[in-house]
Structure formats: C-alpha cells, structure tokens
C-alpha cells in the first residue's frame, strides 16, 4: 500500500512521520482528485452565478421550466428533481453500508449493497436523460426577437401559458428546411419548427385573448405580461420561432440558461456515469473475491469516496439550478 518513497532512517522523518495524515496513499490521492474536481465544479457554478446576476431581472424561473414527471400530465414543479436527489442520497447510503460491510469483511453484504448502489446510479442517469429529453423538446414554444430576447405567450382568460399550437393558424405556405446546400452556404437550420413565424404572428393577431409574456421579472417575482396593445407592438420585433432548447437558443429565456443547464448537469451526469462504471468494476472484483484475498476492502472505500462526492455535487447543482 505504501507507494511513497521513505527514507531508511526509521519511522520518524520530522514532525509528522511518514504518514502525517494517517490515510493511505490511495485514499489521499482520491481526496486530491476530489478537492480539485470540487474546484472545477465550483468554477462552473460560480460562472452560472455570474451569468445569473448579470441577467438577474430576466433569468428564467426554474419552477416554470422543470415541471414534468414521467407518465403524468400536469404541472409538478421540482417533484421529479427532488425524487432524483433522493435516489442519489439513497445510493450514497447503500454505498456507505457497503464500505461498512467491507470493514467487517462481509463479502456478501458488500455485493448486495454495491449492487443496490449501481441500480440507484443507473436510475439517476436514466432520470437525467429523461430530463434532458424533456428540456430539449420543450413544451410551449416561443418567439425570439432581433436582440435574442424570448417572447412567450399567455392566455388572458385562463392566465395560463399558451402553446404555439393553441393559437397559430396554418397558412397555405410551403416552407422547406434551410440547408447549407441551398441558399446561403454558411447558414443552415438544425430543425424546422412546427409553425412558421408568419403562422404564429397571424394566429396571434386573430386571437385577442393571447398576450405576450416577456423575460422581465416584475416586483412579485413573476414574468411581466404585456397588454394587448403592447403585445402587438412587441410582436413586430420577433424574427423566429423557437421550440425546445439547443446550445444556441431555447424557448425558456436567456440563452445562457440552456447552455449552463446542458454543461453543468451534463458534466455531473458524466461523473455519475463514470461512477457507475467504477462501481461495476469494483462490484465484479468483490464477487471474484479480490479484496477478500487482499485482506481489506479499501478499494470499496475509495470508490465510495468518489460516489459520495458525486452526490455532494448534486446537492449543490440541485440548489443552484432548481431551488434558488
């Protein structure tokens, strides 16, 4: 275990001895990695904070974006993310239990708990994939102005968000996807929206109950809804239809919002994925009896440290992305 070079002059090499922190080489290196990785994530979250404070009055409200849970329709803000958090904490618990069983040299218990940890991790990664898919698909659709601002729609009677499909009129127009081989070579469309700008604008004009909701957050902490006259004036600025989200634009509001969502939760999801892979490798080692022969289960503890770290990061992502 001692991979470090020590002098031959007995134990005492200055005040701390050869192992001043009392932790094995492997564990210390895992802590090194975790501290540096924590700084990386802090950098991301601080950058997110920067962008958010920069657009503090227009940033999308997370409660209005993440409202879905699988298999159910309706508005359930945060429920699903809370469930994901719980799954991750739970898998952290089974991981500590595996470490604890390892300390007591109980091979079968380690196998069981590691297995449960892997399952928990898989559920979490799956949930995140679903979350991404929902986010990319979008639900209401919006218009984007020349300046890159997003205009969303509200039904004045019900005061609920209105989807493009609710009011857009189908026009007898023929529109093809703009590819780089036809037209301007350096421009192309990744996807074609279900309604053209014209159809949305015409639909808006013929539906007096639809109002525009801007990105601006008012004193009550809600997005500002324009009245009909202002809405019609604002509509003139619109240049394109936005549905769902990609790395360039999204229907939820500030472009950086989706970018950070993809980047931070993606980076975290990749950590969870690697954690699951590590857990699987260690899981098979445990089954094969590698650590039983080695006489200790420190490897489970080291992988456990990584796994808890992933949980720890999620606690912060959860707060700064979904709660605050």
């Amino acid at each position: 275990m001692d991979t470090t070079v020590t002098t031959d002059s007995g134990e005492n090499v200055w005040g701390g001895g050869n192992r001043p922190l009392g932790a094995s080489y492997g564990k210390l290196m895992m802590w090194f990695f975790i501290v540096s990785d924590a700084l990386t994530f802090s950098g991301f979250l601080a950058a997110y904070g920067f962008s958010r404070f920069k657009f503090i009055e227009t940033w999308p409200i997370a409660d209005e974006v993440f409202t879905h849970i699988p298999f159910f329709h309706g508005n359930f803000p945060m429920i699903y993310v809370a469930f994901m958090t719980f799954i991750l904490i739970m898998s952290s618990v089974t991981m500590v239990l595996a470490v604890d069983a390892g300390h007591n040299m109980k091979q079968n218990k380690v196998i069981l708990y590691l297995f449960l940890t892997i399952i928990g991790g898989a559920i979490f990664v799956g949930s995140q994939a679903w979350e991404w898919a929902t986010f990319i698909k979008g639900d209401y659709g919006a218009l984007e102005t020349k300046g890159g601002r997003v205009l969303q729609f509200v039904n004045a009677e019900t005061e609920e968000r209105a989807a493009l499909a609710d009011f857009s009129t189908a026009l007898p127009e023929d529109r093809t996807k703009h590819t780089s081989s036809e037209g301007i070579w350096f421009e192309e469309e990744g996807y074609q929206t279900s309604y053209s700008l014209n159809e949305v604008v015409e639909g808006f004009k013929s539906n007096p109950s639809i109002l525009i909701r801007t990105e601006k957050i008012n004193e009550e902490g809600e997005k500002t809804v324009l009245d009909r006259k202002q809405s019609l004036a604002r509509l003139k600025d619109a240049v394109r239809v936005v549905e769902g989200a990609n790395l360039i634009r999204n229907e939820y509001g500030s472009r950086l919002f989706a970018d950070f969502f993809f980047f931070i939760t993606g980076f975290h999801g990749f950590h969870v994925f690697s954690g699951v892979v590590f857990n699987i490798i260690i899981f098979f080692n445990v089954i094969l009896g590698t650590y039983e022969r080695r006489g200790h289960y420190e490897m489970v503890e080291k992988v456990g440290l990584y796994w808890h770290f992933v949980d720890l990061v999620w606690v912060f992502v959860f707060t700064f992305f979904y709660l605050v």
Binding site: P20, L21, G22, A23, S24, W31, I34, V35, L39, S42, G43, A46, A47, G49, F50, S51, R52, F53, K54, F55, I56, E57, D63, P77, M78, I79, A82, T85, F86, I89, M90, S92, V93, M95, V96, L97, V99, D100, H103, T145, K146, G147, R149, K216, G221, D237, H296, E298, G304, L305, H308, F309, D311, L312, V315, F316, F318, T319, L323, V324
Partner: protein, 127 residues
Amino acid sequence: MAHEHKLEIFRGLLKFKSNTQKIWGVLIFLSIVTAVEVLLGIFKPAILVGNYFLDMKLLNWIFIILTLVKAYYIAWDFMHLRDEKSSLRRTIVWTPVFLVSYLIFILLFEATYVFEVFRDGFLAWDF
C-alpha cells in the same frame, strides 16, 4: 486502518449504537432537509421572498445554508471525514472554502456591475 467510528452527530446530542445506525440516522436527517427545501420551494412563503439580506432573498439564503448543512453531513458521515485526522479534514475543507469564496466574491461583484451597465442603458440589449 483504524476501525473505530465516532458515533455522535449534532455535537453529541445524538449518539448511535453502531455505524450502520448512524448511517440511517444521517439519511433520515438529509431526507428531512431535502423535503423542507422542496416544500419551501413549492410554497415560497411571502415573508421569505419579500425580504432581502445582502441583495439576496431570505429564501435563497435558507436554501444555501441548508445545502451547506447537507454537504457537511455527506462529507462528515458518508465520506468518513469525522473519523479522519483533523489535519486531513482541515486540508480538504479549508482549501476549497478559501478559493471558492474568493471566486464567488469577485464573480458576483463583477456580474452586479455588468447588470447595472445593462440596466442603465449603456448598452441596448432588449430589442
């Protein structure tokens, strides 16, 4: 490797009989904290949303403090920092705490400045 565990949490207020019990106890505590966060997030009490401290809503302060509480228990009990030497603990905790506080301070300060530049119309962006 030492196998003794420190079995007290909340500064000795709660003492568990075995390490396994402590783990479940910490899980219950973390779940309660998460549930409180979610409930606050859904209901958003007006008194917490309307009042500010250092330019941030009280509700957001509560969220951040609860997050740090959760982080503490994950690191101390799940990552076994409670059982490590205090020198290792301090090395791990204070290095990021120092660096991250500095980073947050400069970035948020700068962001507020940029926000004011945008708001005061030195730059057209809402069109």
